[in-house]
Amino acid sequence: MKQTPQMQKIQDNMRPGVITLDGFLGNDSRNLIDILVEDDADVKRLGYTHKTVAMRMVELRDAGKRGLGEFVSVEPHFEVRVDSVRGKLPCPFGDPGVFPKVNTTVRNLELDREITFTDLNIHFILAHGFYEGRGSNFRLNPGEVIKILEIEKPSEDSVPFLL
């Protein structure tokens, strides 16, 4: 799909060494617009919205904050740890403010699977429907996020991603 100059500029911001050492696109050779469109289609195909995915991440992160940096049990069978490392990151889409480097690790004990996401991941998904490029350290596969976090299907219609 054709990419606008504005989108190209955002994609340039996501390259290694601009905002973070590794960037946000990993070894994905697709244009940003294609990454967004394909993940958006995946999420819709599964019957979800980006907002539903992001809000579940927020819910688990907030529950995990109770642990004050250590893992804490969250019903029905999760363990969640919210930890931070030094630093804050701006959004490559150009949104105002900076995002603290907060890592939330969720263990699904029933599935015996674990996932780690950042506050910037949550913002990416909620505001832009962006799950990062393939091979990126913090890439989240939408289907896996939905499965591991046991996200319930939303009742409302899918919201389009915002750019």
Binding site: T20, L68, V85, K88, L89, P90, K101, T116
Partner: protein
């Protein structure tokens, strides 16, 4: 030709031209631009002549002046502040999220973001002149828990380090699978400052973290490590007040160094150390803490588990560390506190401590943020 087509062609042509010019400017700045030699004046009395064109942070580093930075110069940690007296130009958009209005009035800048293009005069704390770069060798790697590793670095050159208990160093991760260039990350020193031929750090594995992954999965005993330091304002104040320490996870490191230093110097102030963990598998250095209880005349180590497992058969304190501190705090009078851990833990503990009468200015912390 239709007006719409004509408009699209014009927009396309302008966009292409703008992109082309931007690319030319970036290439020219990187390859053609020659700023020649420029003078850096530090604290009005030290002058260096350097080749212009590079960021101030790395330029100072090449002159053996190390400004603390936890992100390796990417403008994401906001630590590398310096006061610029003249010669830095306008604020860059990448600096603004980190600089308050008060700091702006003082012309505080991020040294990793501003380039040295002409003579520049800056002011930095005098103690940064004591910061050096060290070459060291890994003499021991020890698993403290399933996700916290202790690294012992024996100094090679310089052979000794003069540090204050509670300081941190910047560990250089060399190029490896996850990074194409060396990066620096900050870690508190956990060893006794008296053992000045080595430093120990405690590193918790951060999922996907470049430095912690390197230390946990790639670093071997015998490897050479470069680091610089010491840095930091987290240290035991020279008072007669009782001391409360609170930590969790690898926040143990600077507190342990402070306790070892107290034992070394014969400081006998009443000290209570609350350490939060989830279950016994998250506890570590219990023997060392027991030893300190024998050496320090009025010291108690109080580990607390938030969710002890049944098999732990735990008989100690349980609950969140904030609850345990609140339960055990006898009085907030004549007390100062030292905290190290996640921002959430520190914020919650500050609330409990101030709620129990300890003034905020007597609460010192090293926040991982």
């Amino acid at each position: 030709m239709f007006p719409v087509q004509s408009l699209l062609i014009s927009v396309g042509a302008i966009t292409a031209l703008s992109t082309f010019l931007a690319v030319i400017m970036v290439i020219a700045d990187a390859t053609i631009a020659n700023y020649g030699e420029v003078k850096i004046t530090v604290n009005k009395d030290k002058e260096f002549t350097v080749k212009g064109g590079s960021p101030l942070l790395s330029t100072l580093m090449s002159e053996n002046i190390f400004i603390p930075s936890a992100c390796g110069g990417r403008g994401s940690c906001g630590l590398c502040r310096v006061k610029v007296l003249e010669g830095a130009g306008q604020y860059l958009p990448t600096e603004l999220p980190w600089i308050s209005d008060e700091e702006k009035a003082e012309n505080i800048r991020l040294s990793c973001q501003i380039k040295v293009k002409n003579d520049i005069s800056i002011e930095i704390p005098e103690e940064l002149f004591n910061v050096k770069q060290y070459t060291s060798r890994v003499t021991r790697l020890r698993d403290l828990t399933y996700d916290i590793k202790e690294v012992t670095l024996e100094l090679i050159e310089p052979g000794e380090i003069d540090l204050r208990a509670g300081s941190f160093i910047q560990f250089q991760v060399p190029e490896y699978e996850l990074t194409d260039e060396p990066v620096y990350r900050a870690y508190s020193v956990s060893s006794n400052p008296k053992d000045n031929k080595k430093v120990e750090i405690e590193v918790r594995l951060v999922p996907n973290g470049i430095c912690t992954t390197y230390i946990h999965n790639y670093l071997k005993e015998g490897d050479e490590v470069i680091f610089n330091g010491p840095y930091g304002e987290f240290y035991l104040r020279d008072t007669e007040r009782d001391v409360i320490c609170i930590a969790g996870g690898s926040g143990m490191a600077p507190i342990k160094a402070i306790l070892l230093d107290m034992a070394e110097k014969g400081i006998s102030r009443k000290t209570r150390y609350f350490f939060g963990a989830r279950s016994t598998r998250d506890l570590f250095l219990l023997e060392e803490m027991n030893e300190l209880e024998k050496v320090l005349p009025d010291f108690k180590f109080i580990p607390a588990l938030s969710e002890p497992a049944a098999e732990d058969k735990w008989k100690g304190e349980t609950g969140l560390i904030t609850d345990v501190v609140a339960r055990n705090l006898e009085s907030g009078d004549n007390v100062e506190a030292y905290l190290c851990g996640s921002p959430g833990m520190i914020d919650a503990c500050v609330k409990v401590l101030t709620g129990n009468g300890i003034p905020e200015e007597l609460i010192y912390y090293d926040k991982f943020a």
